[in-house]
């Protein structure tokens, strides 16, 4: 792949930015603000109508963006070598350095009935409530794994919704076994405690090592089946019972959105949570010179880590484009220390809230795995055990999971996992990369291409 003109710093020729940042969440905002403060010409692009990303979601993030060309409503659908970002509906944007801060989305695991209307991700519940003031139901189950379940449940309670139960597949008592990592992120622990207090106040059962195994209903979900998990993540026999609800929010952490950096050839790795993330160096640079990454794309760790990484990368690209770092020595040291502490906590969080090992046992042969192409378990099994598919690429080619509208964003993880398991080997980054590789990052009309 051709590398960009990286050489000595020079003023940006007109029309070409020093830095273009894709994604205006906590990470991208921090990159843009920091680089602009150093004097860089910065473009900040986001598909959404306003900046803020998943965390701020349209509310004012209170970040000073003077000197930044903010381009909202700019879904980037293609990136060419030479660092040109193609966006829908307007001219391409070119820059000397690119920063990808495209965030993450909920990671989901299939289970019988997960395609019923009313079964949504925790992120969807949050987006509908925080973004539009609409709660996802009147009697809601919140389930899956990860600390994010707590603010989702607490938010629904504050909106007057009856939360009938919160079911966490992990075992949060394991946090106590790593006091040093927890101490490094004290704010997080405090936040979790306050959500737990809200749950307790509303007498909402919070069950750990429990999972939603199936959803039932005709036109929409009317009940879920909940079961207890043992220490190995397998279902405890006889523990399954029904819980009535009219909506369920279920997800197992987040997974990054990587198609743009992958299109440029950036290398990836498998993170502690089993997600595919970008491999970056100390400065946040990917394996492609001149291409940087910040926030969830480098490893899921939450808004605070995203912002810290964003400031560091913003300062780094400023220096790389011939500007003086806007960070003092002291600020730099503090941010670096904070980044390590938050990353250590994130790694702990990944281990505590890992997807339960027994999830494939919950599937029936007819459970839909690929929602777009209606591919059930038995067709994937037939491809692996009957037609000789040994990797995700072959499975995809032989029975179409990941070929539909979402291009494997939703089914990529479960299909890769099932394929690896049925081949009797561990999941690899290459398995996931098959489903994350999307040179056309967003659907584009043939007439607009």
């Amino acid at each position: 792949m051709t590398s960009p003109p990286l050489g000595p710093s020079r003023p940006s020729p007109s029309g070409r930015y020093h830095v273009a940042v894709v994604g205006a969440g906590p990470a991208g905002l921090a990159v843009a603000a920091t680089a602009a403060a150093a004097g860089c010409r910065v473009a900040l692009l986001d598909a959404a109508p306003a900046v803020g990303g998943q965390y701020w979601r349209g509310r004012d993030p209170g970040v000073r963006l003077s000197g930044v060309d903010v381009m909202t409503g700019s879904a980037v659908w293609f990136v060419s070598p030479g660092f040109v970002l193609h966006r829908r509906g307007s001219d391409p944007v070119a820059a000397e350095r690119l920063v990808f801060a495209t965030g993450a989305y909920d990671r989901t695991l299939p289970f019988p009935g997960w395609d019923l209307p009313g079964v949504v991700t925790p992120g969807a519940a949050q987006a509908m409530l925080k973004g539009c003031g609409v709660p996802i139901g009147d009697r809601v189950v919140v389930a899956g794994a990860g600390p994010f379940l707590l603010p989702v449940a607490a938010g629904l309670l504050e909106a007057g919704v009856r939360v009938v139960g919160v079911y966490e597949a992990g075992d949060p008592t394991r946090y106590a076994r790593a006091p040093a990592a927890v101490a490094g992120a004290r704010g997080k622990a405090r936040e979790a405690m306050s959500y737990l207090a809200t749950l307790a106040r509303h007498r909402v059962p919070y069950r750990t090592r429990h999972a939603v195994l199936a959803a039932r209903g005709v036109a929409a979900v009317s009940a879920v089946e909940v079961g207890q998990l043992d220490r190995s993540g397998a279902l405890v026999p006889g523990s399954v019972r029904p819980v009535e609800c009219d909506a369920v929010a279920v997800g197992y952490g987040f997974t990054p959105q990587l198609e743009l950096p992958l299109a440029l050839g950036c290398a990836t790795r498998l993170d502690t949570d089993g997600s595919l993330v970008l491999a970056v160096d100390f400065a946040g640079q990917t394996t492609v010179p001149g291409v940087y990454a910040a926030g969830e794309v480098t490893g899921v760790g939450g808004a605070a880590l995203a912002e810290v990484e964003g400031r560091l990368v913003g300062a780094g690209v400023a220096v790389a484009t011939g500007h003086r770092s806007p960070l003092s020595e002291m600020e730099l040291t503090r941010l670096l220390r904070r980044r390590s502490a938050l990353r250590r906590f994130a790694a702990l969080m990944h281990r505590v809230h890992a997807p339960p090992a027994g999830w494939p046992e919950w599937l029936t042969e007819n459970t839909i795995v690929c929602r777009c192409e209606d591919v059930p378990v038995h067709r994937i099994r037939a491809a692996v055990t009957g037609l000789g598919a040994t990797d995700g690429r072959a499975v995809k080619a032989l029975c179409r999971p990941g070929m539909g509208w979402c291009q494997g964003r939703i089914c990529g993880y479960p299909v890769a996992e099932l394929t690896a398991r049925w081949r009797g080997r561990p999941l690899t980054a290459a398995d996931l990369a098959v489903f994350a590789h999307r040179p056309i990052a967003q659907p584009v009309r043939l007439g607009d291409l």
Binding site: Q126, V134, I136
Partner: protein, 87 residues
């Protein structure tokens, strides 16, 4: 930001509040699905809520395959249940 009023969903009036997406407006009116899958005809509505899963595709003002969770709702909009491919 879009204003208050009503959109029309399959001939029915659905209230729209400023800042809402089409999905949120429909959901607030108790509507949980507005699409059927092309192979099995199963009903679908919101899943990811942020434009990633494409489960919420719907026909808006005659144009099929719009993501209801991203499309801003506006008064007077005509939204129709999308069957199969929407074409």
């Amino acid at each position: 930001m879009s204003a208050s009023g009503h959109l029309i969903f399959d001939g029915r009036r659905v209230p729209v509040k400023p800042g809402q997406t089409v999905a949120a407006a429909l959901w607030a009116a108790g509507i949980r699905s507005w699409r059927t899958t092309r192979e099995t005809g199963a009903p679908r509505g919101v899943f990811c809520g942020i434009g990633v899963c494409f489960d919420c595709l719907v026909t808006i003002d005659g144009t099929p395959n719009q993501r209801a969770c991203l499309a801003p709702a506006s008064p007077g909009m005509v939204v129709t249940t999308q069957l199969g491919t929407g074409r």
